[in-house]
């Protein structure tokens, strides 16, 4: 009995002990991939944990109420008594991002229709590279251009100093144009060819085909682009900060100074000491940004699910 088992084992050992080459490669690849994935997950979770632990500290310590921060209108972190009302920042972030999307979405949709339906060749060779180039320009350059072109233009033609919500929104709208256009173009290109032909064969004009078949069919993907654009605008700090005026108030018109969550964080971060209430309150703003980003991602997922149906 014993002899047979050991015999079997020794027979099997040449194969079992030395795995074939492809199996070893497979194992090596798997270890490598798992390691990378694990590293990524750990990084993301530690960032979230870090931001949340700092950002929630002011609430847990009882220095600031959540409602006071979300709805309060006065931001006076070093005053006595200190006030941490972040509503003007939230308002500024939303106002600039949504305005930017309102300006940018029609432009982006039209550009992508032009590139796919009207002049595909010119679109692919000239317009698309130009728009992709827009995505590569650093944000400080956008801010600089905004400060030297957009702000003087607004100052000369409208009331106020030129800096403010509208200036920020215009700069942002150019920055998110590539995102919206690229995603819209991809979705228009992936439209089944038969749909357009079907519409033309019924005697539809090109305009009727675009407005009643192409756009409604691709609407969820188009909106995905817009939401991703808003998400990018929401998180943009530098360019907006350069043109928005950075006044922690709720503006009464498009031409008044305001500020955004990102601007406040970048401007004040250097002046606080780690662990202070002021510093932790800034982390709370960062946490709000993070939560908003999650929400945007969630919306995009919902839209994608609608596309598949």
């Amino acid at each position: 009995m014993q002899a047979t088992t050991s015999k079997v084992r020794s027979d099997a050992s040449p194969l079992a002990g030395k795995r074939p080459k492809h199996a070893r490669e497979e194992l090596r690849g798997r270890i490598y991939i798992y390691f990378c994935v694990l590293l990524m997950i750990v990084t993301i979770f530690s960032i979230v944990y870090f931001i949340a632990s700092r950002g929630l500290a002011p609430f847990f310590s009882g220095d600031v109420g959540i409602g006071d921060m979300l709805l309060g209108q006065t931001w006076r972190p070093e005053g006595a008594p200190a006030a941490f009302g972040a509503f003007p920042f939230l308002f500024g972030s939303f106002a600039t991002s949504l305005l930017a999307a309102i300006i940018s979405a029609p432009l982006g949709f039209c550009a992508s229709i032009f590139m796919t339906e009207i002049m595909p060749k010119f679109g692919r060779t000239a317009l698309q590279p130009a728009i992709e180039l827009l995505a590569g320009i650093p944000s400080v350059v956008y801010g600089f251009v905004g400060l030297s072109v957009v702000v003087p233009f607004l100052r000369n033609n409208f009331p106020g100093q030129g800096i403010g919500i509208l200036a920020g929104a215009i700069v942002l709208s150019i920055m998110i144009l590539p995102t919206i256009t690229t995603i819209a173009t991809d979705s228009l290109r992936s439209l089944p060819h038969g749909l357009k032909e079907g519409s033309y064969a019924l005697g539809a004009t090109r305009w009727q085909t675009i407005s009643r078949i192409v756009l409604p069919t691709t609407l969820p993907s188009l909106l995905t682009g817009v939401v991703l654009g808003i998400a990018r605008a929401f998180g943009e700090a530098l360019a907006v900060q350069m043109v928005i005026g950075n006044a922690p108030v709720i503006p009464h018109s498009l031409f008044e100074s305001a500020t955004t969550l990102t601007s406040v964080i970048t401007l004040e971060m250097g002046n606080t000491t780690s662990g202070s209430l002021h510093n932790n309150a800034l982390w709370s703003l960062a946490l709000m940004l993070l939560i908003m980003t999650f929400l945007f991602v969630f919306v995009v997922r919902m839209l994608e699910r609608r596309t598949k149906r």
């Binding site: 005697g203 539809a204 078949i213």
Partner: protein, 252 residues
């Protein structure tokens, strides 16, 4: 002999330098089914697509010759393509219903052409669905997506959709080749019904299908029209040897 519905005269189609259809002159009798057969790449689909100017959509495609429909040469650049395509319905190999409800799929064409009244549209939708034998299958779910139907139903929906703009001629590009045998039989039966009212031109790779449903058959080979005759004669006693070879499966 039936009245003539339309005819082509020396019709050639070029893709760039390549001539895909070579000087084809054919006449199509009114209210009959004409089948176009031939091996892949012989120009039959291209020929079909030039009958309602769908080739306009393809860059680098050029048409020479004449297609006369209702006393009008539609190859004339001045032709109103929109009203032309209203007179000529088209159905493709792959069903391509719009991402809309069954009702909207059919109401779509009439809306383009200015019919807005709800009652009028209701009547057109029911009429077209009855003609394609879909009415009983879908009358309780007209507001459901056209994409929720089976492949065969989708194809009949597409036929119904093209009927809604009141065409006189129907062009079908392999309408049953992506369908199962039962659905195919339904489509063939439908074609038999529709030819009472419409002139039908159908491209098919299925020789039995051509024999079953068509009155006249045209055999295309390498862009040439080899033979065009009554279906019965073509399948029993073709006058060209290459037709005979193709029909009996000796090449192609």
């Amino acid at each position: 002999m039936n009245e003539q519905a339309f005819y082509t005269k020396d019709l050639s189609v070029y893709y760039g330098e390549k001539q895909a259809v070579k000087k084809i002159s054919m006449d199509f009798p009114d209210r009959q089914v004409v089948a176009l057969i031939g091996p892949s790449g012989c120009g039959k689909s291209t020929f079909l697509r030039s009958l309602n100017r769908m080739n306009d959509l393809i860059a680098g495609c050029r048409i020479e010759g004449e297609v006369w429909i209702g006393g009008q040469n539609i190859c004339d650049p001045a032709t109103d393509v929109v009203s032309l395509r209203q007179k000529i319905g088209m159905v493709w190999q792959r069903p391509n219903p719009f991402h809309k409800s069954i009702y909207e799929n059919i109401a779509f064409g009439p809306r383009y052409h200015g019919i807005r009244g709800r009652k009028e549209l209701d009547r057109i939708v029911e009429d077209c669905l009855r003609k394609t034998a879909l009415w009983d299958e879908v009358k309780d779910r007209l507001d459901q997506s056209g994409l929720a139907l089976s492949g065969g139903q989708q194809q009949r929906l597409c036929i119904a959709r093209s009927l809604a703009v009141k065409p006189r001629i129907l062009l079908m590009d392999e309408p049953a080749s992506a369908l199962d045998p039962v659905s195919t039989a339904k489509i063939e039966e439908l074609i038999g019904e529709l030819k009472k009212e419409y002139s039908i031109v159908i491209v098919t790779h299925n020789m039995q299908q051509a024999a079953r449903i068509s009155d006249r058959t045209a055999f295309f080979f390498l862009g040439d029209l080899v033979e065009y005759d009554d279906t019965q004669k073509m399948f029993t006693n073709p006058s060209r040897k290459s037709t005979d070879d193709y029909l009996s499966g000796r090449f192609g």
